[in-house]
Symmetry: D2
Subunit: 92 residues, 4 copies
């Protein structure tokens, strides 16, 4: 099996380039001594966009790799352990 996010690849790259631009934007705002609350609003937007990219990859992973492992009974438990470990990094 290839990468389960093949179909979303272009979309994910576009979204990540936008996040990269937002992160550079915050650097510029700091260099220009911009107001804290504007920085914080921008950082919240970066966090939200990062969560959305993560949810898209999580969905592709579940439909692809996890479902595949379950179908073929290959390392099914390990795949679900791994999935839960990474979800735990987001739900704290």
């Amino acid at each position: 099996m290839g990468h389960p996010y093949a179909k979303e690849k272009a979309d994910l790259l576009t979204r990540l380039r936008r996040i990269e631009g937002q992160v550079r934007g915050v650097q510029k705002m700091i260099e220009e001594d911009r107001y804290c609350v504007d920085l914080l609003t921008q950082l919240a937007a970066i966090k939200n966009a990062t969560h959305k990219v993560a949810l898209s990859i999580l969905e592709a992973h579940t439909r692809g790799c996890v479902a595949d492992a379950i179908h073929h009974h290959t390392s099914e438990d390990e795949k679900i352990d791994e999935l839960m470990d990474v979800i735990r990094q987001f739900i704290k």
Copy 2:
């Protein structure tokens, strides 16, 4: 008053450049069809690092702008409204 994060400016910029590098790293991983769970782990690290930068700016803002407004009784209520609005974007 200038920017309350003057002292942390260099540190904040270093951390944001590192986040920018991590975001570019995820793009590269996607282009190389890397494993979903590795992408997700990296995205969780970006989220954590973004939260930490936000907490530093939030602290500087509270010690600086908010305390200043309270001392001088100038738009104290507005400053706290604004602070709460931005915190609400992180605690959902």
Copy 3:
């Protein structure tokens, strides 16, 4: 299929009873006009404990219902849609 959290049932109930006690504890603290920061610390503990119960059920659900649907090719897509919708309520 029954409930996939059969094995954890007693443990989940114990943890939820503890959360219920913590929620009642905060009510008591408010009635006694206790210090805000102590209330907030207790509310953070309730949030953390709620997340942990949710992660346990999420894991049981993925190993049980989702894997089951995938094995039997029965409403596999719907199950994963449903799973993602509920995860989205926690990753915002």
Copy 4:
């Protein structure tokens, strides 16, 4: 100074009693072997409601205790340290 959440006291208690009811509701659902996704939806609602109570107390605390400490220059730094520590428990 008394408790800065005096005005919201009745409202906070109502909301916490509702959360307590929701936590008991999840226990009942588990005893009845209800569907995982319904449990998770309910747990997300508990988390959301807990966050909202925390934000109300955080706001009262900032307007009350923190502003008070800043006005009187009494343990201003300690109050803000304490505030940041508790916010950090919610933004992870």
